[in-house]
């Protein structure tokens, strides 16, 4: 059950919407790819070694499931609001928080409706604002110089679709939410090398100017694995590792966040195991095998035990009830359970 709403507490959830295997992250041979997580963040937090996703292993539906605390079953490739209330709606409705206090920073157009559910009792009036950094960039009149930042997803090639860009909304988010001029945004984006770097840049700007209590950020560069180039997948993991450390540093240097923010980092799921029948190893997440379903969670924050490891099995849908415990709301329709080590 949810407790009293806790004033001043903040939660940032970071998912790796690419699926990352233990082989390339926390397994012994993978640790060289995540030096920041291993050496800087894990010693400051509690690490859960077995996080299982029993749902559909598609990035949008899995991320939506993390945000609702239920295994959603809709078509992964159709942008739609999740049927069950999201963590943002529980939080905003029960804590009576304004729209500016909950945000999603999403990697691709397919995620644009994940800020609020189709639930009759909740819905958009309690939802989170969704920022699509690539759409911001495309709306700013980005030229071919920015093409490397405008890959919509890695499931297939394709640019950020012009017809689906709400230019007025995006320019409005730039000026009124992020407090950035088009020129300033474009100038800063020009120095970035990947979509995830753009997402982190937007997240940090949002933290500076809005300081939302609940922020959900999905990193996606590592999903380049779908092209079958192992080295590019590793590059994506290494970049995510660096960006997570930078985000934690931002939390520690921002007075709005320092000492009262819980950071939760988890891949949405794994990827297929080497040699899985019907799969092609790291490239996809199609087999539903144990390796593809199992990942990890790292929690950091003021009440989180440091340098601790938890080997018991938790599920990715446990995140929402846990955030409910941290922020003081009751995720009544979530199927997951509160992670007792955290909340």
């Amino acid at each position: 059950m949810g407790g009293a709403v806790r004033a001043g507490r903040k939660v940032i959830i970071v998912t790796f919407g690419g699926g990352a295997r233990d082989d390339e992250t926390f397994a012994l041979e993978g640790q060289r790819n995540i030096p920041h997580l291993i050496n800087e963040l894990v010693p400051q937090g509690t690490f859960f070694t077995r996080v299982v996703n029993r749902g559909i292993l598609g990035h949008y539906v899995a991320t939506a499931s993390i945000s609702t605390g239920r295994y959603e079953t809709f078509n992964n490739f159709v942008a739609q609001p999740p049927p069950a209330p999201t963590v943002f709606e529980y939080f905003r409705k029960q804590a009576r928080r304004p729209a500016s206090d909950a945000w999603v920073i999403a990697p691709s157009n397919g995620f644009r409706l994940m800020g609020s559910s189709g639930s009759r009792d909740y819905g958009p009036r309690y939802g989170a604002g969704v920022i699509l950094p690539k759409h911001l960039l495309a709306s700013s009149g980005a030229s071919t110089d920015f093409e490397h930042l405008l890959q919509d997803s890695y499931e297939m090639a394709g640019p950020v679709a012009g017809a689906e860009i709400n230019r007025d909304l995006n320019l409005g988010q730039l000026s009124t939410v992020l407090k950035l001029s088009v020129d300033e945004f474009r100038r800063n984006a020009a120095a970035l090398s990947s979509p995830d770097e753009l997402s982190l840049y937007v997240a940090r700007q949002l933290m500076r100017v809005m300081a939302p209590s609940l922020l959900f950020l999905t990193l996606h560069d590592m999903d380049v694995a779908h092209t079958g180039a192992f080295s590019l997948y590793l590059d994506g993991i290494q970049r995510s590792d660096r960006l997570c450390a930078q985000l934690w540093q931002s939390i520690q240097t921002n007075p709005e966040y320092k000492d009262h923010t819980t950071l939760l980092i988890l891949p949405d799921f794994g990827r297929d195991a080497d040699g899985d029948p019907g799969g092609n190893g790291f490239q996809h997440h199609r087999t539903g095998s144990a390796i593809a379903r199992t990942t990890w969670l790292l929690a950091l924050g003021p009440d989180v035990r440091q340098n601790a490891t938890v080997d018991r099995l938790v599920e990715s849908i446990d995140v929402v009830p846990t955030v409910g415990g941290l922020l003081g709301f009751d995720a009544s329709m979530a199927q997951g359970r509160r992670i007792v080590e955290l909340a």
């Binding site: 041979e29 060289r32 029993r54 559909i56 292993l57 598609g58 295994y71 079953t73 809709f74 078509n75 490739f77 159709v78 093409e147 490397h148 930042l149 405008l150 890959q151 890695y154 499931e155 297939m156 090639a157 394709g158 640019p159 679709a161 017809a163 380049v224 779908h226 092209t227 079958g228 180039a229 192992f230 080295s231 590019l232 590793l234 590059d235 080497d274 040699g275 029948p277 019907g278 092609n280 190893g281 790291f282 490239q283 996809h284 087999t287 539903g288 095998s289």
Partner: protein, 409 residues
């Protein structure tokens, strides 16, 4: 229609070999639950374009199922009978469009939480295909996996996944990266000349090779097919289709649409080549992905006795848009990334080799001349052992106990 209502007339639209195969096995096909039958018909309807070993494997599977006593058969079939299929699938023309049926079934299994049970049941049902020997088992397989000399990433720990399974050489003397392998391939091909048993796969441009029984594929040589598939992708993306539609469109592509007849006159190989680019993700844009996927498919489908794989540098990784649109200069290469790709591709090739019947007698040699490192696996070859002695690649190959320089009879 239900499977029980199948008769010979239902296979009239199947190509000749597939039709005859289906007719021969119609009694068994009638007994299979609808949730799994199209997965088998998908193999039957394309039988005319399959390699001989694939045809043999399918025959082995159906014969194995046919021989089961009723109780054992029921035990294998029961999990599929419990799958609740919606009317749109039961009413679907699964006889003539089995692949499309499977494409519709898969998301249903995921959304209904039945995918794990289905996968386990399918693993049991299809087990005879993976364990049965369909070829001359006494014939040792040899796979040579070589990275072009340009591929090098100095600090990357090469063979980290393969080392526990073989003998690792860290001081291999430099020499031409292909001649010795092509010589070996030619010698073995001269001894056993059935088609599709000896392959040369090159991630760049293929070198000239002697021997009509050697099947040669190269990334450069297949460029017309690759470009045709990429053009199709580009058009579909510009039309705004989603991943599922794009997948269906690509899976439906036929050799004539892709210019496959310009690269080979062999219809079986034409279909194989088209499958590589239409069903393999990333094969269209990265030569390293092409090599990894193709090596796997050659092993899985053709079950060759000799395969020489050579990995060349791929283009530098950039956004997919540029790669599909062809706006990126294809001369901008990434030798370091390519070496990392090739290292894992070597491991995946070895894994696939191990799945084949008689794998315990197989020899696998991977060589990265740019790093002066090689790794050998095979019967009685030590595992998890490192040698720092200066060696030539020919000396290393000679350590393999099987008489691989000529075919064993």
């Amino acid at each position: 229609m239900t499977p029980g209502a199948l008769d010979q007339s239902n296979f009239g639209r199947y190509p000749a070999l597939g039709r005859q195969f289906a007719i021969n096995h119609v009694n068994l096909l009638r007994r299979l639950p609808l949730a799994v039958l199209p997965s088998i018909l998908e193999q039957v309807i394309t039988l005319d374009w399959k390699f001989p070993r694939e045809r043999d494997q399918l025959e082995v599977l159906l014969m194995a199922l046919q021989k089961l006593d009723p109780e054992a058969f029921q035990k294998l079939a029961a999990p599929f009978s419990k799958i609740d299929l919606p009317a749109k699938l039961t009413a679907f023309d699964w006889v003539n469009q089995p692949a499309q049926f499977v494409q519709l079934l898969t998301p249903l299994l995921w959304s209904s939480g039945q995918i794990d049970r289905y996968r386990d049941a399918a693993t049991q049902l299809f087990a005879p295909m993976s364990t049965a020997s369909t070829g001359p088992a006494e014939y040792s397989r040899v796979v040579l996996f070589v990275a072009a000399g340009a591929l090098t990433a100095p600090r990357y720990p090469l063979f980290s996944k393969l080392r526990p399974h073989g003998l690792h050489f860290t001081n291999v003397e430099p020499e031409d990266d292909s001649s010795w392998a092509l010589d070996l391939l030619t010698r073995r091909a001269s001894g056993h000349q059935e088609p599709y048993l000896h392959w040369y796969l090159d991630g760049g441009e293929a070198r000239s090779v002697q021997g009509s029984s050697i099947t040669t594929l190269s990334y450069k040589g297949l460029d017309p097919v690759r470009r045709a598939v990429v053009a199709k992708m580009d058009r579909a993306i510009r039309d705004g289709v989603g991943p599922e539609v794009l997948y269906r469109q690509m899976a439906a592509m036929q050799p004539a649409e892709c210019g496959a007849q310009t690269v080979t006159t062999d219809p079986v190989l034409q279909h194989f080549v088209v499958d590589l680019f239409t069903l393999g993700a990333g094969t269209q844009i990265y030569s390293t992905t092409f090599v990894q996927w193709t090596a796997r498919e050659i092993l899985r489908r053709a079950q060759p006795e000799t395969m020489f794989v050579r990995v060349a540098p791929r283009v530098r990784g950039q956004d997919l848009n540029s790669l599909v649109k062809g706006t990126q200069a294809e001369t901008e290469l990434d030798p370091a990334g390519s070496m990392v790709d090739a290292d894992l591709a070597a491991y995946y090739t070895w894994l696939e080799l191990r799945k084949l019947p008689g794998s315990e007698g197989s020899v696998f040699l991977a060589w990265f001349p740019g790093r002066h490192e090689a790794l050998l696996t095979g019967p009685s070859v030590p595992t998890n052992v490192r040698s720092e002695s200066a060696m030539k690649i020919g000396q290393i190959l000679a350590l393999a106990p099987a008489p691989i320089s000529s075919p064993r009879r």
